[in-house]
Amino acid sequence: LAGVRAALPYVAGYLPFALAIGALARQTTFSPLAGWSSSWLIYGATAQVVAMEQLDAGASIAVVVASSAIINLRLLAYAGALAPRWQGARTRWTAVASAVLVDPAYVIAHDRWTRDGGTGTADTVWHRHFYLGAAGALWITWVAETGIGTLLGPRLAAVLPGEALAPLMLAVMLGLLARDATSRWVAAAGLVLGVPAMAIPEGAGPVVAAVAAVAAIALVRRVGR
């Protein structure tokens, strides 16, 4: 229950965002049920918005999957950090814990782990329960809140301008992700390269632009050394 309590501020804070994503699912050209299902299939606001935006623009399955993979690569790093603390847990528990891993769940678990002294001091079993309480609460409420947003879609559309919703949400996510100088340069490169990349067929432009942006900044950093 300590984990659930720790997740409550995030649950409340994410409510308008979840409602907006649910409303976005209702405004797409494909099935609203498919849009909402991304909440439990993909489970990650950024990847969900990008996937819906790309599908709406007619992108192919491969492009949507590739974009989602690039966006979710950071989950590999979170999982790598948490895995040593999950050693000894049952396979089924680990599978469920992995499935509900998302940014705030990692932040909550990592903060508490650090506060309790970290490796060698913190009680691993207690922290496993703490993590699953927090991550489980986040998952259940996210799926429910986006579901409510999808159901209320037409009513929310009256207050949420549909055509502005996707770019606004992507901009907010960008603001949260671009925390330091390097990531702001990568963001700027992605924005600049994203425009000409629109000419690439099959909706593959964003994926190509993203890879090119990271490669360009890597090259600049290497040359600068």
Partner: protein, 100 residues
């Protein structure tokens, strides 16, 4: 059907990324450099479609089209809050539509 398949495929990949290390090789540690490039990749993967959605209809670009996302991004960076940033962007967009 395409949407379902794409979302299911993206879901399988997302689960694989979440579970590969804990389920497969719990002793693996991700090098900091790799984690850093993963993080930067996520930033670029959000920036590129944002640029695309902003210039989708060049004839219809207004000041609000560009200003509202910019304000939302800066607000998110400063406040670290999703709802506040989204609210600020929406307010500006609505205000720009109402004002002459």
């Amino acid at each position: 059907m395409t949407a379902w398949l794409a979302l299911a495929g993206a879901g399988v990949v997302a689960f694989a990324l979440r579970a590969a290390i804990p389920l497969g090789h719990a002793r693996w540690r991700i090098p900091d450099t790799v984690a850093e490039w993963c993080r930067l990749g996520a930033v670029a993967a959000v920036a590129a479609p944002l640029a695309g959605s902003l210039v989708e209809s060049p004839g219809e670009i207004t000041a609000a089209t560009l200003a509202a996302p910019a304000v939302a991004a800066v607000t998110a960076g400063v406040t670290r809050s999703l709802p506040i940033a989204l609210g600020a962007g929406l307010l500006l967009h609505i205000a720009a539509g109402v004002l002459p």
